[in-house]
């Protein structure tokens, strides 16, 4: 399989830390989007993403070319998201004031929106399927591999997830 990450992954597997940093740069926002949409909290999501990249770095030797690196990374991220969720409820931490970045405000705005609320109300399997397919553009085969179900089930989850989401959003279905 022609994986655009292949050359960087090979270098990173030989211990080239810079190559791995390039991979982090390439995938950070997609992993963050995935984790944030699944967890609903940007802080928890950032923790999960950090954990995922550390696990990926340490586990690189177990990655086999032939699979897509991004799929492998998503799987690690999904596991980190799962672990993050099991850590809840977290002990209250003292908030550290960070400089205001317009991109953080954008994330806050996105998460306060109707879409995130509707996503949060979806059944977990449906939420994962629609985020991977519609938000991140994964293929049916990738999602099937990531979630351990048949492609037909993936389609069914996307279908039902979207439908439920539209109902939750109260979308008008009559086309005028």
């Amino acid at each position: 399989m022609d994986d655009p990450d292949g050359p960087l992954v090979r270098r990173a597997q030989k211990g080239d830390r810079w190559a791995f940093e390039q991979l982090v740069d390439r995938h950070q926002h997609r992993l963050f989007t995935l984790a944030t949409r699944l967890l609903g909290s940007p802080d928890e999501a950032a923790d999960a993403v950090q954990e995922a990249f550390i696990r990926a770095w340490l586990g690189l030797s177990s990655f086999r070319h032939g699979a897509r690196f991004s799929t492998w990374l998503y799987r690690i991220c999904l596991n980190a998201v799962h672990d993050q969720r099991t850590k809840r409820p977290t002990a209250p931490l003292e908030e550290v004031a960070e400089p205001v970045d317009p991109r953080d405000q954008f994330v806050a705005h996105e998460l306060s929106g109707a879409l995130q609320q509707a996503l949060a109300a979806l059944e977990e399997d449906y939420r994962g399927a629609v985020v991977l397919y519609d938000v991140l553009g994964c293929s049916y085969a990738e999602i099937a591999e990531l979630t351990g179900v048949a492609e037909g089930t993936v389609k069914s989850r996307i279908f039902r997830g979207r439908k439920r989401l539209a109902e939750l959003l109260g979308t008008r279905t009559e086309r005028e």
Partner: protein, 203 residues
């Protein structure tokens, strides 16, 4: 597909995705024209799809991106020899490293520590992990005089350099640049006003 009974869910899905053959598509459209139930399902699925696709990629905050670099242990194990540590063992090792690194990041970003943050994260992490050989990536950085001083924050400057294909990372209030010339850095950041973020070239 029979127009008298409702089509399968997967057919409706493939219809929305435009993945049906022309013949099947025509058949299905014929059914949809006379079946309000299926037509409503299709409309809802399409609306859900539209809502999801309008959502944008969320950006990992730069400080959290830097925290990843800070918390990555420097591995010097050859990939094919020495059996890998078990995930449980790795986690046991990593948890204190990540915690120490996170504390250092917080201290540096909040201005409590003014010195090179990576040095401290590196040595603290090395102390915590005798299993992994750590190396100080920022070694020698302090000695290099800055080639430029620009307005920050450092993480944003490093982000920008990376977007322009230059190896860069923020360390405290400095940005370390590798494999690039002063001219390349100046070209990439030339429009920025002068500030307190120091750009240093690492040989």
């Amino acid at each position: 597909m029979v127009t008298g009974t409702h089509p399968e869910e997967v057919d409706l899905f493939d219809y929305v995705e435009g993945e049906l053959s022309a013949d099947r598509r025509t058949e299905l459209e014929f059914h949809l024209a006379s079946c309000a139930t299926c037509a409503k399902q299709v409309a809802l699925v399409q609306a859900g799809k539209d809502a999801l696709r309008e959502s944008q990629l969320l950006h990992l905050p730069p400080a959290r991106r830097e925290a990843i670099s800070t918390s990555l242990p420097t591995q010097r194990r050859a990939p094919d020899r020495s059996p890998a540590l078990s995930p449980r063992r790795l986690l046991a090792i990593l948890t204190p490293v990540a915690a120490v690194a996170a504390v250092v990041v917080v201290l540096v970003s909040s201005g409590v520590l003014e010195t090179n943050g990576n040095d401290q994260a590196g040595s603290a992490a090395a102390g915590a992990t005798s299993q992994l050989q750590m190396e100080d990536q920022a070694g020698g950085a302090e000695a290099a005089p800055p080639v430029m001083k620009v307005a920050g924050p450092a993480t944003t400057v490093a982000d920008e350099l990376r977007r322009k294909g230059i190896r860069a990372r923020a360390v405290g209030n400095k940005v370390e640049v590798r494999d690039a010339t002063q001219a390349e850095v100046e070209r990439a950041l030339g429009y920025r006003r002068t500030g307190r973020v120091e750009i240093v070239l690492i040989p």
